[in-house]
Amino acid sequence: MGAAPAGGWTTGTIIELDHPTDRLVRLRFHVEDRVDHLPGQHYVVRLRAPDGYTAQRSYSIASDPDDPLLELMVECLPGGEVSGFLHDDAAVGDVLELRGPIGGWFVWEGDAPSVAVAGGSGVVPIVAMTRYARRLGLQDQLKVVVVARTWDDLPYAAELQRYGAFIALTRENLAVEGGGDRVAAPPYPAEVEDLVAGAERAYVCGSVGFASYATRLLEDAGVPTDAIRVEQFGETG
């Protein structure tokens, strides 16, 4: 794999902004002199107060590299200084400092049959990968397993379902195509066996607890530990 593209500091103007659920904000930016990204890369968003104080956080890119706008989906964290501002105060027309794309490890270019296992807002970089896969007709090369507590806790739930992702909800039953419900539970190994089979690489994204769960699930399904790439966030206990 060659070096992934990287961009320096620039600015982005919010062109679209909506709140798909109570805790999510979807931001679509026009980015000045944008450097094309690879699916799975991220951006840094930096906020600047009038006295020069700044706060910055990294967010995964949800958009396909081909999308004229850069899309970020941000989960509002309790007391989150940057996510709280983006959720409550940011508006269309605002200009924010952005830096990206960044990161060359957690990227998928369709170069290997892969499986992605993501939890909650960890689906965002995987969504970029699925959009890319769909545009290039590479859906067979990227199988997706996503886990969330409820349908509303899962960003891009309907889009992921249309992609053919296996969705496991742990706190509510999920209606299954053709009738019946999948009872609330994490994915059973048997449910993901076919998706994992043939994968040469695996991508895991989610909270710290989720990442260790998903890694174990993949290892139990026969994925070698060194084929697993992990992107995790959040605090330990």
Partner: protein, 203 residues
């Protein structure tokens, strides 16, 4: 750069002199960030090697490294993902002690730290000498948790924390710098938090 309309900032640092630019105080939390699956490392199998451009390459078993003089770091740590953690205590052995045993050759200028997982990170040798770096196994008086690199990690607290390789097993002394894992993936070759050396191309 533009002021962000409506942003005042919540977390004014109480001790701004201790917080490098762009960082926030994570308080009692300790975020875990890892690019790989966390390995289960058996200390009976583990060893620490110092080799490359040295007079006599050295390898210590788990027991042997614990027999070396103990050294403790008390202070702050800083992660490129913008959290800083104040007043941490790590115990292990000073990298000076390991280097002294191996005898770096004069042409050795850089070090590649290797982990059991294959993770690598590069450092100038002078960032590992003079009481600035440790190989550690205790955090706050308890064995270091696996997710944080336990049972043993490198600790280079004056640089961003990706330089403090988890599950470290080897320090390779080199004449020329070459990029490690994150450095190949866009991160800075040195990573000084006070200079905000986060990504390639930063000062």
């Amino acid at each position: 750069m533009p002021i962000t309309r409506g942003f005042l900032g919540k977390r004014r640092p109480e001790r701004p002199d201790r917080l490098p630019p762009g960082q926030y105080d994570t308080g009692s939390g300790w975020p875990t960030l890892t690019a790989e699956a966390t390995p289960k490392l058996d200390v009976e199998q583990w060893s620490m090697t110092v080799d490359g451009l040295v007079d006599s390459p050295q390898t210590w078993s788990w027991r042997e490294i614990h027999a070396l003089p103990e050294s403790t770091y008390f202070g702050d740590i800083h992660c490129v993902t913008t959290w800083s953690k104040f007043d941490t205590t790590f115990t292990g052995v000073s990298v000076d002690t390991l280097l002294e045993a191996a005898g770096p050759r004069p042409e050795a200028k850089f070090v590649m730290a290797h982990s059991t997982t294959g993770y690598t990170t590069n450092l100038p040798l002078e960032d590992l000498t003079g009481g600035k770096a440790w190989v550690v196994w205790d955090f706050d008086g308890k064995p270091l948790a696996r997710g944080h690199g336990g049972p043993v990690r490198l600790l280079v607290p004056h640089l961003y924390f990706w330089k403090s390789a988890k599950w470290v097993t080897r320090l390779e002394l080199m004449e020329r710098d070459r990029p490690g894992f994150w450095e190949q993936n866009g991160y800075h070759d040195r990573g000084d938090p006070w200079l905000e050396q986060r990504y390639q191309g930063d000062p």
